[in-house]
């Protein structure tokens, strides 16, 4: 079996799993307790917070542990809106955000906020000019993802940050779920950063929100004083310790690791572009970890199922039921040929994959296309 669905989730690192188990067995107290076991837990937690802060170049107090990027996105976006609605109710995001951002904005529209959705070009990147034009006095928040989860396009985060700070008083939120541990992040003009552990070989149910110290937000969940009241609930501190370790491991030799993935990506691009009726939706300017392509005239779920029979696990976002074709809103936003949005396949890579694995994948894909060709 060759697992090519790493943008959905990754295999948990053995060391993380073993350490998590050991840590839970040895230390189990509540990190908010005042007895020594609790204090030990708190020391672990503080050391983890410090490590994450130093890895990302932020202050210790700017790291909030959460259950993952979805929760971080909700806390940051809704929390900012509720805290700053007196200053304005205009929000900006992109058309191709993850649902954990997009649907938060949909909810805020119902609450009376005005949202501008930035369009993207055919490679899935927003226009900086458009962003600059759209910024207003009453814009309070801009949320832009670092790397798109379906097609791997990289947004110009640093430039966005600069434009936002130079032209408005808006806060800037970045959903870095597919960016972190794979590409460099400069926190200079970023007020909020969300990410999950499980996309970088960590545990599920683990993530963090980075919130700059000077930015005030309202809590969206109410309870105890944990995480400054922004994320109440007994601290899942052993998981948080593992997040610090996961992030450290992900950032180690990040550039070398990405260079290896780029080689794999280049090979896949070359081979895929040779196949008739295969259209690449990702570009070489995007993150090499995600390769998205569409098939003209082939139902992607049949191809995916055929690949699975050969042991290659990939993902399709366009599953069609008998009479309803589900389309990818991300691919629709690229404004390409209409069939592309309903026939896409996503291959997402990690370090364990070899070129030989991908040769097998290409071979399997060709075989399936050959077999079912002409039937549809």
């Amino acid at each position: 079996m060759i697992y090519l669905d790493n943008a959905a989730t990754t295999r948990t690192d053995d060391e993380i799993l073993d350490d998590y188990y050991k840590l839970c067995k040895k230390y189990y107290a509540n990190a908010s307790s005042n007895h020594y076991l609790g204090r030990e837990a708190a020391r672990f937690l503080n050391a983890s917070r410090k490590q994450i802060a130093s890895l990302l170049g932020v202050k210790n107090v700017e790291v909030y542990f959460t259950s993952g990027a979805t929760e971080s996105n909700n806390i940051a976006i809704i929390g900012t809106c509720h805290a700053h609605k007196k200053r304005g109710k205009h929000l900006i995001t992109t058309k191709i955000e993850h649902p954990s951002v997009l649907n938060v904005f949909k909810y805020l529209e119902k609450e009376g906020y005005e949202v501008t959705y930035l369009s993207v070009d055919s490679s899935g990147v927003i226009s900086l000019d458009e962003l600059k034009e759209i910024l207003r006095n009453d814009t309070i928040l801009v949320s832009i993802m670092g790397v798109n989860n379906e097609i791997g396009s990289i947004m110009p985060i640093s430039e966005c940050g600069r434009i936002i700070k130079e032209n408005s008083n808006a806060y800037f939120h970045v959903d870095a779920t597919q960016l972190i541990g794979k590409h460099k992040i400069n926190m200079t003009n970023i007020d909020f950063l969300s990410f999950s552990a499980h996309k970088i070989h960590g545990l599920k149910g683990s993530g963090a929100l980075i919130k700059k110290e000077n930015v005030r937000i309202e809590p969206i969940i109410f309870g105890g004083k944990q995480e400054e009241g922004l994320r109440p609930g007994t601290l899942n501190w052993q998981v948080d310790v593992m997040l610090a370790k996961t992030l450290r491991k992900a950032l180690e030799n990040m550039d070398e690791k990405r260079a290896y993935i780029e080689e794999l990506r280049d090979y896949l691009f070359d081979e895929l572009s040779k196949i008739d009726k295969v259209y690449l939706n990702s570009t070489k300017k995007g993150s090499p970890y995600i390769i998205n392509f569409s098939l003209e005239g082939y139902p992607s779920e049949v191809v995916v199922s055929g690949l699975e029979d050969d042991g290659f696990l990939v993902s399709t976002l366009s599953a069609c039921s008998t009479n309803k074709v589900k389309k990818s809103y991300v691919l629709e936003a690229l404004n390409l040929e209409p069939f592309r949005a309903s026939s896409s396949i996503r291959v997402s890579l990690n370090q364990d994959i070899t070129k030989k694995d991908l040769e097998g994948f290409i071979e399997s894909l060709k075989k399936i296309l050959n077999r079912i060709g002409g039937n549809f």
Binding site: N34, R43, M242
Partner: protein, 397 residues
């Protein structure tokens, strides 16, 4: 920089005659103990030096730890080569070429008299290639760096930098004191200065639950843990002080409460010190800082004990103390907002010039000795160690 050894020099030890051997043995033991978790490091003792053989261990960690070991005057990271002029020349040139352009002086110590060249000849042999191959110039009076060569039986050590150590004496050779420890800013700094001199400490803390919280004690243990790199285990005597403190307030005038309280603390400390073989008491008092630390107050307070009371901060001002606390990493812990037994009962108008007769008069009003005995009977001893948790944290992260 590719060093193979650390050359460690003893300071004042050399002047101590027949005790010298004991001192060096203690220092050797302390150094070994400090590095027992770094398995690459070997400790080698010679009559006038201790060497660490690095075997690739992390220089920064070693430097940090050596700087806190009492009894080390200074130390240098060095590269050892064979006693061979060619090798000495090459290594000297290599080290010199890594240093930013400047002026230098070569200092050669020829301890191994079997080495066939005289010191002067070695100096010239080393300086020549450096002058020819780098932009450095010689300045024998005020050089920007020294290039030092020590030719010994074991080999020739080549180095440039000499790093100041903590000085003082090897921890343990001077005996032990009992340190009055509150959790404030001063006592940890005083404690550090004692340790740095090479004096072992036990700590005594007065707790007044429920007036003082458990957090106040946690503060003290956290503070003491800071010193676990210097003294592996610190014995902390926790004295339950509540009933005695309440009695003081019942029987004595409020303005004298702090004076009497301090007298009681010293009485208890003296008894504990004697029981645990401590040769002196120590405290963080700084003359004039608060009402109980005026010379008049200190005189009245000190009257209850015949033991020496060492006050390392006596003449330091608050700013100096704060800066030291920041440097040694106790500041952040000390400023945690929990009340200790000195602050909870602070009177509105404490007496700044207490009179001994008056203090005695108040004390005659109650049987304080029975309270003191009760305090001592109920003391709790906590052993503060660098716990395994620090290692665990490192490992799990």
């Amino acid at each position: 920089m590719n060093y193979s050894h650390v050359v460690i020099r003893y300071g004042e030890l050399g002047t101590k005659g027949k005790n010298k051997i004991d001192f060096i043995n203690m220092l050797n033991k302390n150094i070994k103990n400090t590095f027992k978790d770094i398995k690459e490091i070997e400790v080698i003792k010679r009559h006038d030096r201790i060497y660490l053989v690095l075997n690739g261990a992390d220089n920064n960690i070693i430097k940090e730890r050596l700087m806190h070991i009492a009894g080390i005057q200074n130390f240098s990271f060095a590269k050892m080569v064979n006693n061979n002029l060619e090798e000495i020349k090459n290594e000297s040139l290599r080290q010199a070429s890594l240093i930013e352009k400047g002026t230098f002086k070569v200092v050669v110590k020829r301890a191994d008299k079997t080495f066939p060249y005289h010191s002067d000849e070695v100096v010239r042999a080393i300086a020549g290639p450096i002058l020819r191959n780098t932009e450095h110039k010689v300045d024998v009076h005020n050089p920007s760096f020294y290039l030092r060569v020590e030719i010994r039986r074991d080999g020739s050590f080549i180095f440039s930098e000499v790093i100041q150590g903590a000085g003082g004496f090897p921890l343990g050779v001077l005996g032990k004191v009992l340190m009055l420890t509150s959790g404030g800013l001063d006592s940890p700094v005083a404690l550090y200065l004692m340790l740095r001199r090479g004096i072992k400490v036990e700590a005594i803390h007065f707790a007044s639950p429920p007036y003082t919280s458990q957090e106040a004690l946690i503060k003290v243990t956290d503070l003491l843990e800071r010193f676990s790199d210097i003294q592996e285990t610190i014995k902390l005597h926790v004295i339950p002080f509540t009933s005695l403190q309440e009695a003081i307030y019942r029987y004595c005038d409020e303005s004298y409460a702090i004076t009497i309280m301090r007298r009681m603390m010293y009485r208890i400390s003296e008894l504990i010190a004697k029981k645990h073989n401590c040769l002196a008491l120590a405290s963080g008092e700084s003359i004039g800082q608060v009402a109980s630390q005026t010379l008049e107050s200190l005189q009245v307070i000190n009257e209850v004990t015949s033991m020496p009371v060492i006050r390392p901060l006596a003449t330091m001002d608050k700013l100096e103390i704060i800066n030291t606390a920041k440097k040694i990493g106790t500041y952040d812990i000390s400023i945690r907002p929990f009340i200790d037994c000195c602050t909870i009962f602070t009177p509105v108008n404490p007496v700044t010039k207490p009179r001994l007769e008056k203090a005695r008069m108040f004390e005659e009003r109650f049987d304080y000795m029975s309270y003191i005995n009760e305090c001592i009977e109920n003391e709790e001893i906590i052993y503060i160690k660098k716990d395994s948790i620090d290692k665990d944290i490192e490992e799990f992260l």
